[in-house]
């Protein structure tokens, strides 16, 4: 069993030469929650639909679970919750799950128990005999998640899975994704909600204007800047100006009158500079009470990489001119 569940090489899907996704080369390891992140219209759904064979790529190639996309075998162990989820609303929830169990090739003997378990998992027990047309949007998204999981997939594509859910529902879906990861399944999460990705994803790819900006382990990607929060006595703006060779920026934070010293957010170029900072502060007679490394928010990481990519493009254009 390969450790890579999704591989793409220059996968491109353009519509009359516009939009879609362009030249995406990606590898998704098994057993992770992979966040595919980008603003609306960045090409995330196009990428997923191309992977599932709903769209035909205009260039490049790709494999799902080691098999080329377009081959039905590639979809045998795949589940999918589309962004625009619509199901046969004249069916009941139970009939829908039975139909998808049949389509996914679930053995008859396992169907009843699996459906019962999934209904429980998505919180629809007791509503399975209602027609889908009577479901709220959130319930339809829940039955969609159950549908995606009915074939006991190794890989699940969830395209904006919490778009119709309330905060409790969103938390339940986050828990579900973590459960799936614990079970060894891979979740490919398409989202424009940074907070959603930040909370559950181990690996992240960022797409912007059809292009893949960056991909990798979230821990490494987020290591784009080192920030530390300090609380110290005897610090002033003048001091930070004197330490310009060491720090990138210093921003005062709100302090409580009950606290000794003032709080600052310091940005450094590298993590290795943290001991240097401490040494400098000590040398300058600053009394340091607290120093806490701060993880940058996904939003900062996203903006950092998108900004970097755009700067590269601008530089490339200038070189050509």
């Amino acid at each position: 069993m390969s450790d890579i569940v999704i591989s793409t090489w220059g996968l491109t899907k353009q519509f009359d030469g516009r939009a879609g996704c362009r030249d995406i080369t990606l590898q998704v390891p098994r057993g992770v929650v992979f966040g595919f992140l980008g603003p609306n219209g960045a090409g995330k759904s196009t990428f997923v639909r191309t992977m599932l064979g709903l769209l035909h790529p205009t260039a490049g190639r790709a494999e799902l679970l080691g098999k080329p996309i377009g081959n039905i075998e590639a979809r045998r162990k795949v589940g999918y919750l589309p962004e625009l989820f619509r199901y046969q609303d004249w069916l009941t929830g139970l009939q829908l799950l039975e139909t998808h169990a049949e389509l996914a090739g679930v053995p008859r003997s396992l169907r009843r128990e699996r459906i019962r378990h999934l209904l429980e998992r998505v919180g629809l027990t007791g509503r399975e005999n209602d027609k889908i047309r009577g479901y709220s949007k959130g319930m339809q998204q829940r039955i969609g998640i159950a549908c995606a999981l009915i074939g006991d997939p190794e890989l699940v594509f969830l395209d904006e899975p919490t778009s119709a859910l309330d905060p409790i529902g969103r938390r339940e879906v986050r828990d579900l994704m973590m459960d799936l990861r614990r079970e060894g399944k891979t979740v490919f999460l398409n989202s424009h909600l940074l907070s959603e990705v930040e909370n559950v994803c181990d690996h992240v790819a960022i797409v912007h204007k059809s292009d893949l900006v960056v991909q990798g382990e979230w821990r490494k990607l987020s290591d784009v800047q080192t920030q530390v929060e300090i609380r110290a006595e005897g610090v002033s703006l003048a001091l930070w100006q004197a330490l310009q060779h060491l720090i990138v920026s210093a921003k005062p934070l709100e302090s409580s009158v009950m606290m000794t010293g003032s709080r600052w957010l310091i940005q450094l170029s590298h993590e290795e500079q943290v001991p240097d900072l401490v040494e400098c502060l000590h040398r300058e007679g600053v009394r340091l009470y607290e120093l806490t490394p701060r993880q940058p928010a996904l939003e900062d990481v996203f903006l950092h990489w998108v900004g970097r990519k755009e700067a590269e493009h601008a530089h490339h254009r200038e070189t050509l001119l």
Partner: protein, 287 residues
């Protein structure tokens, strides 16, 4: 494929269109039965008053009456086939219902074939029942206008009659795989209309020995051969009734020149080719 067939079958049954069609069909058969009863009664009285009354007139009325009944039955079946099928792929693409189905390990051609089997099975049963209902009305309430058709002719006629929705479904699936529901529906209804008018023109042309009208009818049959299937059904029913008068008596709803076996083969191939086109088109398109 069978899951899709089952789903398509259920969808048509669950939707109101089918229920309404069944109720209206029952109303139509009832109306046709009443009309047949009173027409037969009046003709019966006339025949008893006019000793040696023209057998030709009686035969003509009998076949005209059953011709009208079957022609309208064919029209209802065609309309139901168009309405049930033309949106079956396009509608699911437009609403994205097809996305989760196609994310399963399933060939797209199997989806088309599944829909053909599901809808085709249902509509063949419907067409066969309607055909039998019209003949039963004639046999039970026809009186003096009752036609005597051998069982084998009745069976062949029924099979030919029930073939009509299959041809329509194949074309409708092709249209549904390549364009929106409304556009596909308009094209198919116009095609059906061309066949319908062409069929009448051909009968008039045959009666008047007007080659231009006959040729228009032939061309329209080649463009959309559904009418020739109906004409073949009628000639199957009455030409084999061993009564030479019947041939001349069928008028606009019958067939003055029976569509050839080659035409029947052409019609079958027409359906098969459109079904293959539908599978090919659906497999190649983006969703």
């Amino acid at each position: 494929m069978l899951t899709i067939a089952k789903l398509s079958y259920k969808e048509t049954l669950y939707k109101r269109i089918f229920l309404i069609t069944i109720l209206m069909t029952l109303a139509y058969v009832l109306f046709y039965g009443i009309a047949t009863h009173y027409a037969a009664k009046q003709i019966g009285d006339q025949l008893s008053n006019e000793i040696g009354a023209a057998q030709m007139e009686q035969q003509m009325l009998a076949t005209q009456l059953i011709g009208v009944g079957l022609y309208f039955a064919s029209f209802i079946t065609a309309l139901l086939s168009i309405l049930a099928t033309v949106g079956s792929i396009a509608g699911e693409i437009e609403s994205h219902q097809i996305d989760t189905i196609l994310s399963r390990p399933l060939h797209r051609r199997d989806v088309v074939l599944g829909k053909f089997i599901g809808l085709g099975g249902l509509l063949v049963i419907y067409a066969a029942c309607l055909f039998i209902a019209i003949l039963l009305v004639n046999l039970n309430f026809g009186g003096a206008l009752h036609v005597s058709v051998p069982a084998s002719s009745m069976l062949t006629g029924m099979l030919l009659f029930a073939l009509q929705p299959l041809i329509l479904i194949a074309v409708a699936l092709w249209l549904s795989a390549r364009m929106s529901t409304i556009n596909g529906g308009i094209i198919l209804i116009i095609l059906y209309g061309i066949g319908f008018v062409g069929g009448f023109l051909e009968q008039i042309g045959q009666a008047l020995n007007n080659h231009a009208l006959v040729n228009i009818g032939i061309v329209s049959s080649l463009v959309f051969p559904l009418d020739s299937l109906f004409r073949r059904t009628m000639s199957q029913l009455f030409n084999s009734a061993n009564d030479p008068l019947n041939i001349a008596a069928q008028g606009l709803f019958g067939s003055l020149a029976e569509p050839t076996t080659s035409m029947l083969i052409y019609t079958l191939l027409y359906g098969v080719v459109f079904l293959l086109f539908a599978m090919r088109k659906f497999s190649k398109r983006d969703l």
